[in-house]
Amino acid sequence: MPRTIARIVWAAVALGAALSLGVVAQNQGESVNSTWLVIAAVCTYLIGYRFYAGFIAAKVMALDDRRATPSERLRDGHDFEPTNKWIVFGHHFAAIAGPGPLVGPTLAAQFGYLPGFLWIVVGCVLGGAVQDFVVLFCSIRRDGKSLGQMAREEIGKVGGFTALITVLLIMVILLAVIGLVVVNTLKGSPWGTFTIAATIPTAIFMGLYLRFWRPGKVLEASLIGFVLIMAGIFGGQMVSESPTLAPWFTFSGLTLCFALIIYGFFASALPVWLLLAPRDYLSTFVKLGVVVMLGVGIVFLRPELQMPPFTRFVDGTGPIFAGKIFPFCFITIACGAVSGFHALISSGTTPKLLARERNARGVGYGSMLLESFVAVMALVAAASLQPGVFFAVNSPAGIVGTTPAAAVATITNWGFPVSTTEMATLAQGVGEQSLFYRTGGAPSLALGMARIFVQTGGGQAFMAFWYHFAIMFEVLFILTTLDAGTRVGRFMLQDLLGHVSPKLGQTSWMPGMLATSAVVVAAWGYFLYQGVLDPLGGINSLWPLFGIANQLLAAVALCVGTTILIKMHGSKYMWITCAPLVWLVVVCFTAGWQKIFSPLPALGFLAQADLLAAGPQGPTTAALVFNARLDAAVTGVFLFLVALILIDSIRVWAGILGGSRPRTTTETPFIPTKLAEEL
């Protein structure tokens, strides 16, 4: 494109971003169309990708296509294989897309749509995408090494070990919180429970099909699996309408909690080909399909946002989770803007597949932009609900009142009108007995998604189907993370215990495998159990804990990135990773401090424990007091571990910049590529 035309086009994109952001930000008192959010997000992503990522790629990383990547130099036909950039992009995006960007923005909508939207877009362009890109680049230049290995080699042993422990702890909290989302989605819902229960025999059938009947036919088996889970949705409807069968699939939160714990244990202990692998294939295809459907639906239907730009809950009195807009909006959005877990993927399979260095920009930075766009779509789906309905679905009984009448009165008093008739009609329309107190974000997101899907196919008559389709998608997705996460946690624990007793480190030794599976399941199961018992709904405690942990892992990744940039260029470009690092550290430590020490019982764990201990003693009071203190301790451990890495990193940076420490880096030397052409 001639230079002048290119300048005009980019000026138009910049103008589009500014104009749309202006409309979104200035709109007060009337609903705004989601098109403005989509245009603002896409134009900002384009500017970020073209100019900021382009600058980092050219000036800071000096990406060089003449340099052989690990996929070429270490090609082994297994992990290392030069692969087409679009295929790597698809692989990387499927790997980084988890339930977080769907749930986080939905929960953060309690502050209004604007703060969450701005953080999702700006946080991604300046923080999350930069982190993913930098870690991917660092790993490519270091033979595809993992984040933990790079932390150990570039910062020191303390950093490496701390990163490992941090990941294990985060995994436990992550599994508990997503388990809680499942429990709150399925409690009292025979339709949803049957649909999800049906995915287990479906996955096992697919496993057997792939293992014995049609080995290797993954797409074929996935198609059959998809047909079966769709049949499961229709079966769920019949079950929910049957007076005999419905009670068999109607469970309390506590029963579902134990069912999930037992399921998690078996999912971790069973052969991987029987349950985990087929579920993983199915979940990946359904996930990508639904994300595309949602994107197309929002772009073509352009729903109006009913939620105001800001709600009264920016002051910290929100019913879904306590805490002011700063820092809790940023903690809650989590993976939609910045995700520490992406650093594990960017330093996992992806660097071993990239054929050209310059593809790292599209894969590392570009995939995160797409993930951020998924978060924007989730926010749009949630914010297109009536605010009264949104809060009625997401608020716990402990805050809004234990009867529907009390709940609607409280929510209407907040300025978000809603009636019991409206909620009953809505519940009936989606085939549920009640939609009150379904904390966790998944049901309200499913409602928003169903409203969008229903306009694209079937009309109102299909509202119940689309709602349960969305529930199936979310829970299938979450259960796959739960299965796989438990297994990963078990392997990490076995690796750690292997240093103490080599036998325990053997993954093929059955007693060790069962014992470590039980330990990991018990760890996340305990937090899940306390979340179910929590009178404030559990999400109020666990989601911020998960958000803090995830953002702290991002801080670890940015410490590694900053160390490497300092070794490459001195202080010249360290601001690229240091700026988001400083922001994350301030946000996480403020949030962590408030979660531990705030005198407000709804916010501070210790204040909550003191209040419970001083109040009337019921059968679960002692457990609730202990849980609140345990949550405070876990938050403290997270902060301590990351402070340790941070201090260690600053010591290394000061040494290098002051000249007392050599700029030794583990970057592999330049070897020219022999790959003749683009794959």
Binding site: H78, T83, W86, I87, G98, R211, V272, T284, F285, C335
Partner: protein
């Protein structure tokens, strides 16, 4: 037309990658084998042994 063909090729490539078909082809090449139920089962065991050790995103 060639643009659509390329697009279809990319979509197919991504589906194959997500369905582990590319990895399986590499496995067969590396071991000098052809597709068989035994080869698939061996691939599945080795591949998922490594895959299920990797961190999962949230």
């Amino acid at each position: 037309m060639s643009y659509l063909r390329n697009l279809a090729k990319i979509v197919r490539g991504i589906l194959d990658e997500l369905a582990d078909q590319n990895a399986y082809r590499r496995f067969l090449d590396a071991h000098g084998r052809t597709h068989s139920p035994e080869a698939w089962r061996q691939f599945q065991d080795e591949h998922w042994q490594a895959k299920s050790r990797r961190g999962r995103c949230c």
